[in-house]
Subunit: 208 residues, 2 copies
């Protein structure tokens, strides 16, 4: 069942890499069904049959892409630790997620496309690995709340809000840029805004 992890040749590594990079570009811009193997091949600088020599099918490319990016994507949340000032931790998480939207917008859009269309391929991960991770971090946040270190907010929705607010700038980038016009740096402005927003939201309320 397990594939032979036989050492990949130089050529193999290079071409697989080129295909995945090209596929990320195409899938994130046009969605799965909007992308043809020919487009991927052309972007990767290969012929179509050659692409299919490295990956069994279009689906296999897509799956490999998603799997390969999961760690990158969940990394920042995993880094949310108990140590340090709680509000700072959360602020840092939001900031890091925003940087990821800025630096990896294609990845963001790939996931968005996927989830938007029902996430059938991701469902097991969403309800499994992701859910457990979120529950764990929610418990951490609940602890902080119980200790009065941050204000009382629903931890799950706090995390959702961070995802929504940061990924928005990647996923809806054309809209953001169209509305702001050319003389803006959306990500820089967003950082200021989000810092303010979460500092206000999380500041412990003394009364009551």
């Amino acid at each position: 069942m397990q594939e032979q992890p036989r050492r990949q040749s130089r050529i193999q590594r290079k071409n697989r890499e080129a295909i995945l990079t090209a596929a990320l570009r195409e899938f994130s811009a046009r969605g799965f069904s909007g992308t043809t193997i020919d487009q991927i091949a052309e972007t990767a600088g290969l012929s179509k049959p050659n692409v299919l020599y490295y990956f069994q099918s279009k689906d296999a490319i897509h799956t490999a892409l998603l799997r390969g990016m999961l760690d990158l994507w969940l990394g920042p949340l995993r880094d949310l630790r108990a140590e340090g000032d709680p509000a700072d931790q959360i602020l840092a998480y939001a900031r890091r997620k925003l940087e990821m939207s800025r630096d990896y917008p294609q990845e963001s859009r790939l996931f968005a496309n996927e989830v938007l269309q029902g996430a059938e391929r991701l469902a097991p991960i969403l309800g499994g690995e992701l859910r457990e991770l979120v529950d764990q971090k929610s418990a951490l946040i609940s602890g902080w709340i119980a200790q009065g270190k941050i204000a009382q907010v629903d931890p799950h929705h706090l995390l959702f809000s961070i995802w929504a607010l940061t990924q928005h700038y990647a996923d809806f980038e054309v809209q953001v840029r169209a509305v702001l016009g050319p003389d803006h740096d959306p990500y820089a402005e967003a950082q200021v805004f989000l810092d303010l927003l979460y500092r206000r939201l999380l500041k412990p309320q003394l009364r009551e």
Copy 2:
């Protein structure tokens, strides 16, 4: 150039409506290229040639859908008025947008799909009508800030945040539900969370 606005027959109205409803369902779930005319036809209970009797092409259906929904979509923002308490106005806008995500998730996903993939068909609207509307409402919000009625926040990003936070619950619904599990009412919880978030964010800061 203008099409004869000749009165539509009963059958015509019924079938056009059925096609648009079916197309919304399909496009929002699978994206434009992931949807076939046959699927739309079947969902609408018509034959493929019959669908093409009412709309010139798949693209025409898509365009008609988007155009027909724009007013619904921009309505809440248009309703943001100078009268009344500023914070209440903004809170009400957020609440209304959240209700729209709950009640019209397909519409939300259709737009998300569109924007995510470059929004070529929407570009003129985003940079035109939408931008003007946003600028106008931003000016209104800036006025409130200048009067010290709400806290000092970037009006554009305030609006972005409302879009992001509310549409997230429709666009990423599968993810939200997967993470929360079955014993939650995402929209009810979100309403509480968003109310709190915006009340805290907008409360005027007295010091300084």
